[in-house]
């Protein structure tokens, strides 16, 4: 089960929980399973069939570059962070 950290302003959807565990071996599955337990999550994270361009995702501390295809391990931590660019 992946440990998903819920962005602070979305914790209303999880009854205030900072992190929740859901199954899934890819980010797509994780978000899908998150939606099943906490309806409304998907609409906040996705835009169309993709991750919202405002977001990036870190799995185990590394920002992943595969979007929804990103593999998620059994014990992985998943974080939704603002998308970043640099100077």
């Amino acid at each position: 089960m992946a440990i998903v950290y819920i962005p602070a302003l979305m914790r209303g959807l999880t009854g205030g929980a900072e992190k929740v565990t859901v199954p899934g071996s890819s980010l797509r599955q994780v978000i899908h399973n998150l939606e099943a337990v906490y309806p409304g999550m998907q609409a906040r994270l996705l835009q169309g069939d993709d991750l919202s361009p405002a977001l990036s995702v870190a799995v185990d501390g590394e920002v992943v570059r595969l979007g929804l295809l990103a593999p998620v391990g059994e014990q992985s931590e998943v974080h939704f962070l603002p998308a970043m660019s640099g100077g």
């Binding site: 302003l9 974080h79 603002p82």
Partner: protein, 755 residues
């Protein structure tokens, strides 16, 4: 006055200081920058800009301008495709495209003074300029709002009627200037503050500042009769220009070629487009190549500065000096369209520390100023100024040494940040240790009105896509082609990584930065990614060359490729020491043993590893004038591995000096109506040789496990610590705590109560 490198791992080429490959062209004036480019029959373009900070455009009459002899074409927003049309996604995507397009040429409203409303192409620049005066624009002037706090207030003038606050995916219901709201929270804040013996809470402000690259924006466009578009320009990312022009003009990327010319500085400001779509449009209209170059005033008024910020930070610590809680609220000016770097600013703010309970709020707010662009570690300098000032005050209140206090609370491998993720291998503590061990820290600073300050900073660095090809020449050298604009010696730092793999000298790898038709997709030179990611692509491409060379040797020797070795530039076969062939010898045989060898690689790496820095500043404040003199300055930074230490030092020194300018002098002076009053380098005062001492450097090398040579990005983090380091030094020098940037002489005198 030392520059030190604390080397932990040695290589043959990586870590040495060869002369950069493009150096001779640049010291002889031969290198061609965007502004130096020209084509036969070329026209010159100029841009008409709004004189108002906020106005509805009722009509534009270009007829008199078009009638002026020498004028060949005029374009307005009408010549741009309407973003709403023909786009499947009419939601967020269309809105963003509308914003993107409106920033190139305003359609119904001008949102800042300097906002482009029309562009002219004429036989020469003077004629084009004369034509601008003949364009009649009927404006309905609207009240402007040029300050983040004002813009957030109930009843403030609204820039975009359709804008609703996005709170991490949830939309507000009423028109607003707050484009988005973001929050990070970890632990239980109340509990954290309850554990604290000392709490410091302060408000801070920073002014709008500009990246200040010396080369103004430029672009030359050619829209050929066959529909092929070519754009020559100075940009941090040729592929980004291609993507943006394609989106704005609704034109396929395959028909757009962007040729990156040499670039005279960017610092984040040249990761976006301004003139490029105009050059293409004007060329389409006139059938001729068209070149546009901005004036300095246009650069200040019409291109991305960095956001001004209004910030509040509260931190608590125990008597023993352990940080227990941190809370912050950061509101950033995005300029005319949403998209400041407030998110990154929030995430970097407390990153140097291990704090159990924290909460950070961020607001992205539109105001009537040019749309903000990235500027070196975007967002982190503003928030770092606030946080590092409070950290310093806590240390002072607790009677602790500022470096010891930081060390006690330093983030390290395994620390969970307030934004959630856990740090991997980082050099935060190593930088603090090196700062404490530096000559500077152990030297004595004596005399009245003098003080020493210290501050740390963090920047994530980014990875992203890069491509590289390497072809072997018959004389045993190689040509390397890559797509990263070289703003500060990256041809060298990339070539050196290939040279290391191939056992060649740096000079034997000849790098070329190619156009978008000639190399695979490569992201911007920005985010401190180029030496990391494009260097990695070069490393992989070099390995691809070696693999093919080994196969060739095996073929020539009729050996098993798996048995072929390569050491010190010589191929051999396991178990047969007599068989030897130098790289150079094999290179000479390629064409008649199976054909040329070209290695290639593309990468999209993660694992860029964050960068930390700690700076020490000695200042003397003149109590009569309030002027701050920087007496001595040392930058300590974790580079992972410094590929070319001279250029790493250069990044550290240059970044620090930009931070010093931001801290002490630089500022957009805005009139209440929204006009920038200081649009020349005379009045927008960037540091000169006279304002500075030598900038000492200590490079720390905590290898990044995510890179073959341990490289971390170096370009951005050095701008983060200076404002707080100087504020902390000023505090010790004259007893005042400066909470607003710039800390100009007048501001300091005011704080000291002398005026």
């Amino acid at each position: 006055m030392a520059n030190k490198v604390l080397v932990r791992q040695e290589f043959k080429v990586v870590g040495t200081r060869p002369i950069r490959h493009d150096g001779t062209d640049k010291v002889t004036g031969r290198a061609l920058y965007g502004g130096d480019f020209s084509l036969p029959g070329m026209l010159y373009g100029k841009v008409l800009r709004s004189p108002h900070a906020h106005a509805r455009i009722l009509s534009i009459d270009t007829s008199a301008a078009e009638a002026l002899p020498g004028v060949r074409g005029v374009v307005t927003a009408k010549d741009l495709p309407r973003p709403e049309e023909g786009i499947a996604d009419v939601g967020e995507g269309a809105v963003n495209l509308r914003f993107l397009s409106d920033n190139i040429l305003a359609s119904n409203k001008a949102l800042y003074k300097g906002h482009a409303v029309a562009a002219v192409a004429a036989v020469d620049a003077h004629t084009a300029e004369a034509a601008l005066a003949l364009i009649k624009v009927d404006y309905q002037v609207l009240p402007a709002v040029v300050n983040v706090r004002e813009a957030m207030k109930e009843g403030a003038p609204i820039l975009h009627e359709s804008l609703r606050t996005d709170a991490q995916g949830q939309k507000g219901t009423t028109p607003t200037n707050i484009a988005s709201r973001i929050q990070f929270a970890k632990g239980t804040l109340e509990q954290g503050f309850a554990q604290a013996d000392v709490v410091v809470e302060r408000e801070f402000e920073t002014a709008t500042v500009h990246q200040g690259y010396i080369e103004p924006h430029n672009a030359t466009g050619l829209w050929s009769s066959d529909g092929q578009v070519t754009i020559w320009c100075s940009t941090q990312g040729a592929f980004t220009v291609r993507d943006l022009v394609s989106q704005i003009l609704r034109y396929p990327v395959s028909k757009i070629k962007v040729v990156p010319m040499e670039i005279g500085g960017g610092f984040g400001g040249k990761t976006v487009v301004y003139l490029e779509p105009l050059a293409a449009l004007l060329s389409r209209k006139t059938g001729k190549p068209v070149k546009l170059v901005m004036t300095r005033t246009e650069v200040f008024e019409g291109t991305g500065p960095t956001p001004a910020a209004s910030m509040k930070v509260k931190m608590g610590a125990t008597r023993e000096g352990k940080l227990t809680a941190a809370e912050a609220s950061f509101a950033f000016e995005a300029g005319a369209y949403p998209g400041s770097a407030v998110g990154a600013g929030c995430m970097c703010a407390f990153a140097p520390y291990d704090i159990e309970h924290g909460k950070i709020d961020g607001y992205d707010v539109v105001v009537n100023k040019p749309k903000a662009a990235a500027y070196r570690a975007p967002g982190a300098t503003q928030t770092g100024f606030a946080v590092e000032s409070v950290v310093d005050e806590l240390a002072e209140k607790l009677g602790l040494d500022p470096i010891a206090f930081r060390m006690k609370n330093s983030a390290r491998e395994g620390t969970r940040r307030i934004d959630g993720p856990i740090f991997g291998v980082i050099g935060a503590l190593d930088c603090l240790e090196a700062a404490r061990a530096s000559d500077h820290w152990s030297s004595r600073l004596e005399g009245p009105n003098r003080g020493r300050g210290v501050a740390s900073g963090f920047w994530f660095n980014i990875g992203l896509q890069s491509s590289c090809t390497i072809s072997v020449n018959a004389d045993g050298t190689v040509n390397l082609v890559e797509g990263s604009a070289d703003i500060g010696g990256t041809r060298a730092s990339i070539a050196m990584q290939a040279a290391e793999v191939l056992c060649l000298r740096a000079e034997e790898v000849k790098p070329t930065v190619a156009d978008t038709d000639s190399i695979g997709y490569t992201q911007v030179t920005g985010g401190s990614r180029t030496t990391f990611a494009t260097g990695w692509a070069a490393y992989e491409a070099a390995h691809d060359v070696l693999r093919q060379m080994k196969e060739r040797v095996a073929k020539i020797w009729e050996a098993n490729p798996a048995d072929v070795t390569y050491e010190e530039g010589v191929f051999g076969v396991k178990g047969d020491p007599k068989m030897q062939m130098a790289f150079r010898e094999l290179a000479g045989k390629l064409n008649h043993t199976g054909g040329p060898i070209v290695g290639r690689a593309t990468v999209d790496p993660k694992g860029q590893g964050g960068a930390f820095a700690t700076h020490i500043a000695d200042v003397e404040v003149d109590p009569e004038t309030g002027k701050v003199k920087v007496l001595r300055y040392t930058t300590v930074q974790d580079a992972g591995k410094a590929v070319h230490p001279s250029y790493v030092e250069g990044q550290m020194q240059g970044g620090a000096v930009q931070g010093i300018g931001w801290a002490l002098n630089e500022e957009y002076f805005m009139t209440p109506g929204g006009t920038m009053a200081n649009t020349s380098f005379l009045d927008y005062r960037m540091p000169t040789t006279l304002d500075l001492p030598m900038i000492e450097t200590v490079i720390v090398e905590v290898a990044n496990p995510g890179h073959p040579f341990g490289v971390r990005g170096v370009g951005e983090v050095p701008i983060v610590p200076p404002p707080a380091a100087l504020a902390n030094a000023i505090r010790r020098a004259v007893g005042v705590r400066m909470t607003r940037l710039p800390m100009s002489p007048g501001a300091i005198l005011k704080e000291m109560g002398t005026v």
